[in-house]
């Protein structure tokens, strides 16, 4: 008796949650095919998609900025983070715990703090705010995710494999290139995809850091929301959600390293 009651409660919560998650997306989907510019449903139309693809040059500029930043910052963060994770996994030194907490902190602090701190930092040194500062900032907030994902993988890594390799004559560079990197590859790819997505997605930090000419997609969407909503944004949203689903399917292959921390 008791059992089924509990079951009903949790089931209800799950259904409510899924409705809560997906109704808003369904609404966007509905409006993206609506022919009216207002939110009154008038009829089916593809014109917003058409406008999105043919008549939105600034949007596509923002998309290309976002992609440039996402790809470059993801690769840089993965490079720094992977080496760091290896160091943190196998070498002990004084204050290692403190070092580890500080490396993770950007992930734990509210984004706005990093945004403000970097903004003030860059202005204090009169750094011009452009795509490059955005790139630097994105690396900073991506590194902790890379550390987390790669360290989770290294955690289950059998360290006798490294000894075996050295025993067979491998120099440190051979150990890194022939054993460590190949065996950590799934986590490295997961970290790459995660960094890429987080970078594409970031609004708050970029908002503070970006200057004229370094508008990314989220900044562009923000201004669309604030200053004149055109239904193009509905079409854009639908496409982004679709892209997300595709990317997530891809990511779910590596989700083991993303969820288990």
């Amino acid at each position: 008796m008791n059992h089924t009651k509990r079951g009903i409660f949790t089931t209800t919560m799950v259904i409510l949650t899924l409705l809560f998650f997906y109704l808003p997306m369904a609404v966007l989907l509905l409006y993206s095919f609506n022919s009216s510019k207002s939110m009154v449903i008038t009829g089916f139309s593809l014109k917003w998609y058409n406008e999105l693809f043919t008549n939105s040059p600034f949007l596509w500029k923002a998309v290309s900025n976002s992609l440039i930043i996402a790809v470059s910052s993801a690769f840089s963060a993965v490079l720094i983070g992977t080496l760091g994770a290896i160091g943190l996994r196998w070498y002990s030194f004084k204050l290692k715990n403190l070092f580890q907490i500080i490396s993770m902190l950007p992930l734990l602090l509210p984004e706005i703090i990093l945004g403000v701190a970097l903004l003030i930092f860059f202005s204090a040194f009169s750094f011009p705010q452009n795509l490059f500062t955005v790139y630097l900032s994105h690396i900073t907030f991506n590194i902790p995710f890379v550390l987390l994902i790669v360290m989770a993988r290294l955690e289950e890594f059998d360290s006798t494999l490294l000894e075996a390799a050295r025993d067979l004559g491998a120099r440190e560079i051979d150990v890194l290139m022939k054993i460590l990197i190949p065996l950590t590859m799934p986590a490295i790819i997961a970290a790459l995809l995660m960094s890429f997505t987080l970078s594409l997605e970031d609004f708050v930090i970029t908002f503070f850091i970006s200057g004229p000419g370094s508008t990314t997609l989220p900044i562009y969407i923000y201004s669309m929301i604030r200053f004149g909503v055109s239904p193009v944004i509905n079409a854009l949203s639908v496409l982004i959600v679709l892209a997300t689903i595709v990317l997530s399917l891809f990511l779910s292959k590596f989700s083991k390293y993303i969820i288990n921390h």
Partner: protein, 388 residues
């Protein structure tokens, strides 16, 4: 490195010759361990270890879990450094030489086969690092595949192999580098009993074929006794005895070795030397037993612990008539454990419970539980393992 390789490889110039594994011989080297100590924090893991392992020897390190076998082996391999003392390969001090520069290779307990490489690439790993010609590598790999009986498996990934096959890969992978010393850290402990026996015999054959020095770590005494030329028995970071299987079994240096290697019965008592120079062990409850004393340090009145192997004791339903060379105790059978060709008897004597193993004979007198029996043995089978 590569020059060494080519010189010692008898086949390197002959291509497409059918490989004869019985000709793979390498250079072994002796291993010297001088005054090695090692602490982990305040915990003393090894204290003042000294060992001389001969060229080409099959040497075993045997001891209970945690006694420091792996630690010692890791120092020979070069993974760890001793706090004090030195390690010599032949007569070269290698204490400060990194593991990738020692001509020593290791077979690990958990295989440590690289999971992302095929069997072939695992075995070729060391040679590829030396940038040796591909053709030679290929030929070598096939030679060693054959040596460890993995012909035809070279394309498989480690996940497709059984435990025994993985360990074979690990052995071939180590041997292909032509080490002077092969270190094996409980290489068989992850395998089931039957496979363990088979692989052990193969290891012994491989050792005979290639002739390099093997240092074999185990806590399984049967393994060690079966194949080793010599064995070192370790306890709590110290070596208790070094000797051949026979020496260690028959002349255990102390009570620990006696108990650790095989089974034993320990008799305690004090030594009394009679007027006509007869030496006797005076037990607390079972009276006096004749004993041989070859150690002049043992004086009359010393308290002794004597080891007596279970299979050296004869169990008789009636009192033996000849008692000049044989010692005798009386008792009652408490328990009989039958195991095929032999049985084990637990006999309660006045002194203690004795453990006896007896191989069945065709028309022996059946002994049953509760029977009164007589135990006899030869004086020379009694080993003094402790005295004070």
């Amino acid at each position: 490195m590569s020059t060494y390789f080519i010189i010692t490889d008898p086949f390197s110039t002959i291509v497409k010759e059918p490989v004869n594994i019985y000709d793979i011989s390498m250079l072994g080297s002796s291993v010297g361990i001088k005054n090695i100590s090692k602490n982990f924090g305040h915990f003393k893991v090894l204290s003042d270890i000294n060992l001389e392992i001969k060229k080409g020897e099959f040497f075993s390190l045997l001891g209970p879990s945690g006694c420091g076998k792996t630690t010692l082996l890791r120092m020979i391999a070069g993974f760890d450094k001793p706090d004090t003392g030195s390690i010599f390969l032949d007569d070269r001090n290698v204490t400060d030489i990194a593991s990738n520069k020692r001509k020593v290779n290791t077979v690990f307990q958990n295989y440590a086969v690289f999971p992302h490489l095929t069997v072939f690439d695992n075995i070729a790993f060391g040679l590829k690092l030396k940038k040796i010609d591909k053709k030679i590598i290929q030929k070598e790999v096939f030679t060693f595949l054959e040596l460890v009986k993995l012909n035809g498996q070279e394309r498989k990934m480690p996940s497709q192999l059984s435990g025994g096959q993985k360990q074979r890969v690990a052995i071939a992978r180590a041997l292909i580098n032509k080490p002077q010393v092969l270190l094996l850290d409980e290489p068989l402990s992850a395998l089931d009993a039957k496979l363990r026996k088979e692989l052990l015999i193969e290891l012994d054959q491989i050792h005979n074929e290639i002739g390099i020095t093997f240092i074999y770590v185990t806590h399984d005494q049967e393994e060690a006794l079966g194949v080793s030329d010599r064995i070192a028995i370790m306890k709590d970071g110290k070596i208790n005895q070094i000797g051949t299987s026979k020496e260690i079994y028959e002349k255990p240096a102390d009570a620990f070795v006696a108990g650790f290697i095989g089974e034993t019965n320990l008799l305690k008592g004090s030594l009394s030397i009679t007027e006509n120079k007869e030496t006797k062990l005076i037990t607390e409850k079972a009276g006096s037993i004749n004993i041989l004393i070859n150690n002049p340090k043992i004086k009359s009145g010393a308290s002794l612990t004597v080891s007596l192997r279970p299979e050296k004791i004869n169990i008789l339903p009636i009192e033996p008539t000849v008692k000049i060379t044989h010692e005798c105790l009386q008792g009652q059978v408490k328990e009989i454990v039958y195991s095929g060709f032999q049985s084990r008897y637990f006999v309660k004597t006045k002194q203690n419970i004795m453990n006896i193993i007896k191989v069945h004979e065709a028309n022996e007198t059946r002994i049953r539980r509760g029977d009164k029996v007589f135990l006899e043995w030869e004086k020379s089978d009694m080993n003094i393992v402790e005295f004070s």
